[in-house]
């Protein structure tokens, strides 16, 4: 068995799988069970200074997709209702009971004093790392209601420097939002502020849907709703892009989060630059038990690929992302349909006829035929084909 241990910001993780800040980490017993199940660490749900008003509206969740097969989850959750005094106690207990596990405290403040006192209290309590929530979609930075901290480069740099200024030695992570014009500018501000790493990224502001029969949006809070933070498989491609951009332009160590559901997603996050991966939606849907598949799956992958440790895969795919469209090594490809595998449904024909280049004929024998002169190789036929491996895009001379 490969050892999945990985070092991130000088802290040793037994594997790269960490519970993200969420309801799953807002209860001592739940975190205990998460650790017992095998998670390497946990980001405790974001806490605040005593007196901060946190009144969560319920129901706070809405999702899209089939029962048992949701492709996203949206929440209008807020930070923890437990203030830092309580969370500090939990940090102490968890570190005492699970000295090998990584306990990360997530914080959100509204002034320099608040941010700094939160850091001091939690470092004192024994937290291994601090994560600063600059991106709670429901939070704000006071002077600009509705705007997240991480949507302003100035505020991001300033607050980062406050937090870094208050810590003695524990690493500081800044959790940012993908909802910005240029993620690199924000990441650079985090770097200038002196943070050790970035958590990329948070949920994405979204409207979860409207009940067309009542005209009311979801989730319904007594007839009204508000924008949700979108998570789950739907946002994974966005997270991947954000991680890749930050890794490439800033070189900062990254905790990847946002849409990872299984070990393959973690591998992808790591291939574009994440060091560890946080899971929230997957745990909320399937429970702490998924850690078993994450660990064995990653072990299988590393072994199969001939790597030594998870660290070997970090950033491995970045060189394959072109810096610009012009840099793409374009070559001609054509659709090639394996008629042995083809079941004759005609979906490729319809798609190409109405959404492609009218380059597929459909015969009386229910077999498609690609007209090479018309085929540009767009791959729409492959995307709609229900048979795996039936249609390939192959280079032509």
């Amino acid at each position: 068995m490969n050892n999945l241990a990985i070092e991130f910001l000088g802290v040793k993780f037994e594997n790269p799988f960490v519970l993200g800040a969420a309801p799953s980490t807002d209860d001592l017993d739940m975190v205990r069970r998460g650790f017992e199940a095998g998670w390497a660490g946990a980001v405790l749900k974001t806490t605040s200074v005593p007196g901060t008003k946190v009144e969560i509206a319920y129901p706070m969740l809405a999702s899209i997709g089939e029962p048992g097969k949701k492709f996203c989850l949206g929440n209008i959750d807020l930070i923890s209702v437990h203030h830092v005094d309580e969370v500090a106690k939990r940090v102490e207990i968890l570190k005492r009971e699970f000295p090998e596990k990584v306990v990360i405290a997530s914080i959100m403040g509204s002034s320099k004093e608040e941010w700094q006192s939160l850091v001091r209290i939690l470092e004192e309590a024994g937290a291994d790392m601090i994560e600063c929530s600059f991106s709670c979609p429901q939070g704000n930075i006071g002077e600009e209601p509705g705007k997240m901290l991480a949507q302003s480069t100035q505020a991001t740099e300033l607050v980062t420097s406050w937090v870094v200024g208050a810590r003695k030695k524990i690493p500081v992570l800044i959790k940012i939002t993908p909802q910005v014009t240029d993620i690199v500018e924000i990441a650079m501000a985090v770097k200038r502020g002196g943070a050790d790493g970035i958590t990329a990224s948070n949920t994405i502001p979204a409207l979860m849907g409207i009940d067309i029969w009542t005209l009311k949006p979801n989730p319904p809070v007594n007839g009204k709703s508000i924008y949700s933070g979108l998570s789950g498989p739907a946002i994974k491609p966005i997270t991947l892009r954000v991680i890749a951009e930050i890794a490439r332009y800033t070189g900062m160590p990254i905790a990847g989060t946002g849409g990872a559901m299984d070990w393959r997603d973690a591998v992808e996050f790591m291939l574009v630059g994440a060091h560890i991966v946080q899971y929230v939606t997957a745990v909320m849907f399937y429970g702490f038990r998924i850690i078993d598949d994450l660990v064995t799956g990653l072990q299988f992958y590393i072994e199969k690929m001939g790597f030594e440790s998870p660290e070997d895969i970090i950033g491995k795919s970045l060189p394959h992302i072109a810096w610009s469209y012009d840099e793409l090594p374009i070559r001609k490809v054509r659709s090639r349909i394996d008629l042995e595998k083809c079941i004759g449904c005609g979906n490729c024909y319809i798609a190409c006829r109405d959404g492609g280049h009218m380059a597929i004929e459909f015969g009386e024998d229910r077999k498609p035929n690609v007209i090479d002169e018309r085929c540009v190789g767009c791959s729409l036929c492959k995307e709609v084909c229900p048979v795996e491996g039936c249609i390939e895009l192959k280079p032509v001379e």
Binding site: E66, P67, I343, G344, C345, G346, N347, Y349, I350, F362, R366, P386, V387
Partner: protein, 418 residues
């Protein structure tokens, strides 16, 4: 047999999942295979988006007996048998999706037809074929009279056991015909075509009668016509009970008869001259009958029914399978000296059907069915024949399909005749 959608869980989200398995094939083979040519991918797309009214409209406009067919269509040989999804995993449960739609949507507004064209057509027989034909003619503005010797609806109403086909479903199909401008004459038997000489065209769709088993003892008390048995069972008469019943034949009517005899509390044995796999009944029917506790005896053929006044026993001869006949099934050949008798109180010979002995002016084929040309016209101009009486009936949906086709042929004919 459990049906996934209708019996396990009739929730929309469950049905939607099945609908989402549909590949929505181009030039769909299912629609082609459906005798009524229901736009199957079309209504499945409607189900997916929760547009059940549109799905219902698609189904019912193609098949006026949609509520009935949702239960009794032999999906294994029709739409589902050619489902392309089967090449990936399992065919789409098309009939059940169809049934979900017809069971979910309450009613459909009836569009009144264009102005009458001044033509009059008589339809003899108010079964699925006759009624569908009448409806399609009426929709085109033709005046229609339907003459039915019993009550309208045909086989689904009077014969198919309610255990297989809920009466409420048939009622939904039948009731709409009563709301239309079609003149329906129930309990009205047409004795001779000459009674209808004032019509521009006549469509004969009377259905069939049971073929008589030609062996000694067939007239003994206790020999029951399967159609009569099914009809009386459907009327709620269940007095035959505690008897030893022998059903002769392996078709769907034989199995239905066996099913209801068992249901009434008899000891039932189905006897068939080939092996069960060659019996002309749907697999589902066979399984249902077997699970009901009916016994089967294969490779036996009746020789005589024994008894003084009442049936006491049936003498059989054992058969072996010979060379295939034109249907591709092996011909059963009697094994000499293998005769044996089976005690019985009731005998139901259900060995097939034959065209009724009516309207002698209509030319028949060698099997006794009314002969028609490719446009369903008989040897007499203006007289058309469809359904079981032509030997081309079969399932309800096939009767419906013929009703649709003949209406077009009649309209063409009326256009020419003008």
């Amino acid at each position: 047999m459990k049906t996934l959608i209708l019996e396990n869980q009739r929730s929309y989200s469950f049905v939607k999942k099945e609908a989402e398995r549909c590949l929505l094939c181009y030039d769909p083979p299912c629609t082609e295979k459906c005798p009524a040519h229901i736009d199957i991918p079309g209504f499945i797309m409607n189900i997916r988006s929760g547009n059940l009214e549109a799905a219902y409209h698609k189904i019912v406009s193609a098949n006026p007996f949609a509520n009935t067919c949702g239960y009794v269509c032999p999906d294994e040989v029709l739409c589902q048998s050619v489902c392309i999804r089967a090449k990936l995993d399992e065919p789409i449960r098309i009939r059940e999706l169809h049934c979900f739609v017809t069971e979910s949507v309450e009613h459909l507004e009836i569009e009144m037809p264009q102005k009458t064209k001044g033509k009059k057509v008589a339809v003899i027989g108010g079964g699925p074929a006759g009624l569908t034909c009448a409806l399609k003619l009426w929709e085109k503005g033709i005046e229609v009279d339907v003459f039915e010797k019993d009550k309208i609806g045909g086989i689904p109403v009077v014969e198919i056991p309610s255990d297989r086909l809920p009466q409420s479903a048939v009622e939904r199909d039948i009731s709409k015909f009563r709301l239309l401008g079609i003149r329906i004459h129930e309990k009205t038997e047409v004795k001779s075509l000459s009674e209808l000489s004032n019509y521009d065209a006549i469509v004969v769709a009377t259905g069939v009668t049971t073929r008589k088993l030609d062996i000694s003892g067939i007239d003994l008390e206790g020999v029951i016509d399967p159609k009569e048995l099914l009809r009386s069972y459907k009327k709620g008469r269940k007095e035959i009970t505690g008897k030893r019943a022998v059903v002769i034949g392996g078709g769907n009517v034989a199995l239905d008869a066996a099913y209801v005899l068992k249901e009434m509390g008899n000891c039932v044995i189905v006897t068939y001259r080939r092996e069960l796999q060659y019996a002309p009944s749907w697999t589902k029917e066979k399984v249902l009958t077997f699970l009901k506790g009916v016994e089967f005896m294969y490779l036996v053929s009746p020789v005589a029914i024994k008894g003084e006044k009442r049936v006491e026993a049936v003498e059989f001869v054992r058969m072996r399978l010979g060379e295939p006949d034109e249907s591709g099934r092996p011909v059963p050949v009697p094994i000499e000296g293998s005769n044996f008798t089976l005690s019985a109180d009731i005998v139901v010979p259900a060995i097939g059907e034959t065209a009724p002995d009516i309207f002698p002016e209509l030319e028949r084929d060698d099997k006794g069915y009314v002969k028609t040309d490719s446009s369903y016209m008989t040897n007499i101009e203006g007289v058309f024949a469809i359904g079981d009486i032509t030997g081309k009936g079969g399932t309800i949906v096939e009767a419906v399909a013929q009703g649709k086709s003949v209406s077009e042929a009649v309209i063409n004919y009326l256009g020419r005749a003008r």
